[in-house]
Symmetry: C2
Subunit: 605 residues, 2 copies
Amino acid sequence: MNIDYRNIELRSGFWKQMQKLNSETAINAVWDRFDESGRISAFRFDWDGNENKKPHVYWDSDVFKWMEGACRIMSKEERPDLEEKVNMLIDLIEKKRADDGYFNIYFSVCEPGKRFTDRNMHELYCAGHMMEAAAAHYYATGSDRFIKIAADYADCIEKVFVTEGIAEFETPGHQEIELALIKLYKITGEEHYLKLSEHFLKRRAVNSKDKPIDGNIYHAQDNRPVEEIDSAVGHAVRCLYMLCGMADCAVLTGNKKMFEACERTYKDIVNSKMYITGGVGATRFSEAFSMPYDLPNETAYAETCAAIGLMMFADRMCKYTRDARYADTVERAMYNGMCSGISLSGDAFFYENPLEINLGSHRRAAVKDGHVKLAITQRQKVFLCSCCPPNINRVIPVIGEYIYDVEGRTGYINQFADSVLKAGGIEITQKTDYPWDGKVTITAKGLDKLYIRIPSWCRHFSINKDYTVCSGYAVVEDNAEETVFEMEIKPILISSCNKVTQNACKAALMRGPLVYCAESVDNCENLYSLILTDTNEAEESYSEMFRGILIRLNGLKIPESDELYSEAKANYEKTKIRFIPYYGFANRGESNMLVWLNYKGGMPS
Amino acid sequence: MNIDYRNIELRSGFWKQMQKLNSETAINAVWDRFDESGRISAFRFDWDGNENKKPHVYWDSDVFKWMEGACRIMSKEERPDLEEKVNMLIDLIEKKRADDGYFNIYFSVCEPGKRFTDRNMHELYCAGHMMEAAAAHYYATGSDRFIKIAADYADCIEKVFVTEGIAEFETPGHQEIELALIKLYKITGEEHYLKLSEHFLKRRAVNSKDKPIDGNIYHAQDNRPVEEIDSAVGHAVRCLYMLCGMADCAVLTGNKKMFEACERTYKDIVNSKMYITGGVGATRFSEAFSMPYDLPNETAYAETCAAIGLMMFADRMCKYTRDARYADTVERAMYNGMCSGISLSGDAFFYENPLEINLGSHRRAAVKDGHVKLAITQRQKVFLCSCCPPNINRVIPVIGEYIYDVEGRTGYINQFADSVLKAGGIEITQKTDYPWDGKVTITAKGLDKLYIRIPSWCRHFSINKDYTVCSGYAVVEDNAEETVFEMEIKPILISSCNKVTQNACKAALMRGPLVYCAESVDNCENLYSLILTDTNEAEESYSEMFRGILIRLNGLKIPESDELYSEAKANYEKTKIRFIPYYGFANRGESNMLVWLNYKGGMPS
C-alpha cells in the first residue's frame, strides 16, 4: 500500500510543534523574503536589465520548493492564502513557459537562446524541483494542472537530452531531476520518466561530453559511474540527491549493482563523514564531503539541505531494506542537523550548521585577508542562495512519512511521535512525549505484525508483550491490546572515534536522539575551560522557550591564568555545565557554543 | 665597552655544533641554491628578459644576508672560498651601482626609471640588508670598501627621501633599513644615518603619502605612530625588525616614548602572541601576528625569520634594560623556533614552523579547492622566497653576542654555552654541557660583578657562593674562584593559558629551554590518541642524530574504535610516549607531529 503524509496526523509534541511553526510562521516568512528579493516577480519574466535584480539560476528552484511546502500544508489545512499564491505562480508558469514546455526564468529572461548549454547553471535542477512541486500540488489538490505542465517540461527535456541528444551536456551539474522524475513516473505511470531518470544516472561519469564543474571531477560526482561508487565525494547535496534517485531507480528497475553502490556509500557516510548531529558535507569548499574522519567543528559546513538530503536518502534505504539502522540516521539528522536550520521563532534560518562557535575566531576572521571563512553566528531571514529555508518548508509537513510505513499487513514505526496513521483499514497510533520521554503507547489495527524501531542510542528498553528482534526492530505480532514500548532516555556522554582528531579527549552530551550543546550565555565566556566528567547527578528541566528539556551536569573548570605558559597542574575547580538541545543554539544573541567539550572520564567531578 | 661576536669563542656543545653545521654545510648549501636559482648571476645585471628567470624584488636581500653570514664566518675562520665569493659580489656591486650610489637589481634591470615609486617593492629593505652585509664585511676584513658603497647608497636614499623628498613614498613597506642605518651610524660615526633611521620610524603612519600595503593598514604597521603602539600587528618580520630599529633609535636618541612603545609591544607579544617555541606570526595571511591568544598549532606560520626577529628584538631589550626576562625569550626562540628552521643535516630549511603536522590534513589540502594551505612537512633546499635560510646563515655565527654582554666592569651571562669571552682585559669562561646538563662552571677575570641569568623555566638552582638577585640575574661579586651555577633541568609538562583554545586540556613537554614534540615515527600513527599524565619515571637517552637528549614518558592511549560515535569511556591503555626536541622534527621523512598533546593531569598513568 502506498501511504504518504496525507495518511498521517501529528497530534502533539515535538513534530506537531514544528509543523505548527512551519505552517504559521516559516512558510510565510520565506514567502515574504522571496517576494522582497524579487524571486516571485521574476516569474513574470519582466526583468528590467538591472544587474542588481538579475534573476539567479537557482531562483526557480527556491520558489518551487516553497510551492511544494505550501501544497503539503494546503493538503492538511484550509489555507486560501497559500492556495492563492500557488495558483498565481502556476498561472504565471503556464503563461510564460515556452511552447515546447520549457520553463526557466534565467534562461528565458537573461540568456535566451542559451538553454541547455551550460551544465553548471542549475537548469535541470530547477526542472526537478518544478516536478516535485507539481507532484505535491497534485496530491494536495487532486488537480492535474501543474503536474501536466511539469510533464510537458519533462517531455521537452527527454527530447533534448535523449531523443535528439542536442543538449551541450548529458547529465545535470546539480542532481535533483533524477528523484523528481521518479515522482512524476509514480503519478503518471509513464515509464519513460523512470527511464529518463535512469538515463541521467547511468550517463554520469561515462560520457565524454560533460566537463567536470570547476574542473573538479568530484564536485558533481563525475569521478565514477554510479554503479561503482563506494564513497561520498563532492558537493554533499548533489551527492545525496543523486543517492536518493539511485536508490529509487535501483529498486524500481531491479538494479542490484546500483543498490549496492547506495549501501556502500551510505556506510562510508555514517562511518566516517557524518557529524554527531547528522550534518554532512564538512567543508565549505565546494560545500563538499571531506576526507574520512575530517569533521572539524568550527568550520563545519553541514548545510541544512544536506541534513535533509541525508534524511531523504536514509529513509529510502530504511524502507527498501527494512533495516532500522538507517532510521537511526534519519532520526539523528531530523532532530539535530535539520532542526538547527530554523530558529525557535520560525522565521530565520541557518544554511551552515557549525558544531562550535568561537566569537574570537569571528573577530579574527573580520580582519582583512584574515582567516578561514566561518559560518554566520545568527540565523538570518534570507540568503542570496536560499535553498535551505524552503527545504525546511517542504520537509516538515511530510515528517509523517518518516514516522510510519506499511507494507501489506505489516506496519513499521520508524520514528516516534504522538500521531496516528490511517490507511485502508489500517490504523496505528502512538501516544508519547518523545523525545523528552521514552514511553510510547501504541495501538495497531488491521495489522499482522508491527515493527518498532529500537534506536541504536537506546541501551535499555521494555515492551509489555512478547516480541522478536529483526534488523533493529522489535516485532510485535499480538496487536490486540496496546503495546507499551518504553525506552530509557537519559543523558549520555558520547565520544567519537579517535581518528576524528578534533574530538580526541572530548565528549558530547546526548539525551535520546538529541545532541546537546553548551553556550556561553548559560556558562562562562570561555567554554574551552570546561571539562566534562560524567552524567551522575545530571539535572533536567523543561524550557518553554526551547520546547524541550535542558540539562545541567557537574563538571570541572580549568582556572583562569594570565601566564601564557606555565607548569601544567590538575587543579580544576568544580562547576556546573549547562546544556541546551543543539537545535536551539544561537537563539539568544551571539554566544560561544560547543558540542564537543573537554572530557576527563575517570576524574572525580 | 663594545663587545661583539668576534670577542667570543664557542668551544663545544650545542651552539658550537650549530656553528660548525652553518659554516661547513649551510652556508655552502644556500650559496649553491642561490647560484642555481639565478640570484648570484643577477648581480651581473644581464637578465635576458626570460620571465621565468626574472630577478625578484627581494633577491638582493637574500644574497646580502648570505654575504653577512659569510663575512661573519670569515672573521673567525680562514675561508678563501667564501672570501672569493664575497669579493666577486662586491666587485659586481661596485661596477653595477648607479653613479649616485643606488643599487637594486630589480629596478635597474626590470623596471629602470621606476626607482622609489612603489613602497611594496622591498627597495629600502634590500638597501638595509646591503648595509648589514657591508657592516659584517667591515668587521670581518677591516676593509672599508663595501661599507663605503653602502654609505654611498644610504646618502642617495637620504637625498631622495629627506633632502629632496622626491620619492613616491615616505617609509619602507618592509622595515629593515631602520636598524641597518644604525649599524652604519655606529661604524661611520655619522649622525645623519641615525637621523635617517629615526626619520623612517617617525614618519610611519603619520604621513599622507604612504598607501597601506594591500590596503591593509596593519600589514606594514601603518596603523599607529611608532611612539604610540602597544600591540604587535601585521607582518611579523616587518614588525620585529621595526621594533629592533625603534629600540636602538630610542636608546641612541634618548626617546623615552619610543622605548616605552617597545616595552608595551614586547609584552603584548610574549603574553599573548608567541608560541611556546618562540615562534611568532601565527597566521600565513600576511605572514602576520593574529589576535591575542590565537595560536593555532597546525596552521602556525611562525616563520623562521620572525623567530630570529624576536631574538634580535628581545636581546636588544635585555641589553637596554638589563632585565633577564627578555633573555628568556631569546632563549626560547633560539633553541626552538629558530633551530627548527634548519635540518639536522644543515642543508634544508623551513620557512614556516608548525607545532603540529597531521598528514591527513595535507592529503585533504591536496584535494582541489580543498582547505587551508598548510606548511610543508619536509625542509626544503630552496624556496622561491628564500629569506629564512640566509637569515640562519647570518645569525648563527653571531650567537656569541646573545650569550655575553659587558658594561664597564660588569659582565652579563645571558645565555649558557661552553665558551669564552675575551675583551680588553676581561675574560669570562663557561664550561658546560648546557642545555643537556644544567651545570655551568664560570670563571671571570677583570670584572667587579657578574650577572648570571636565572632562566624563568628553572625552578631550582644553586650557586657555590654568595649572590644577590636582580632583575632575574644572580649577581656574583666575588669572582676570584670559579662560580658553579647549577640549574635543575628535568622534563616538565607545560600548559598554556586557557584563552588559547587550541591547547585547552593539553600539555607540552619541555626540558630546560627546549620544547619537545612527539612524532609518529617514534609513536603511533594517531598522536591524538595519546594522553600525557605526568613526568614521573621519565627516561632520557642521548641521541647522536639529534645531537641531544630524547625523552620517554609514561602515558595513556585511547583505544582504537571503528564506531564513529559511541558512549564515552575512560578505558585508556598504558603506553610509552617518545619525544624528540622540537628543533629536530621532520628529519626522518614525513610524520605526524604534535607539540601539544592531550593531558589528563591527575590520572594514574
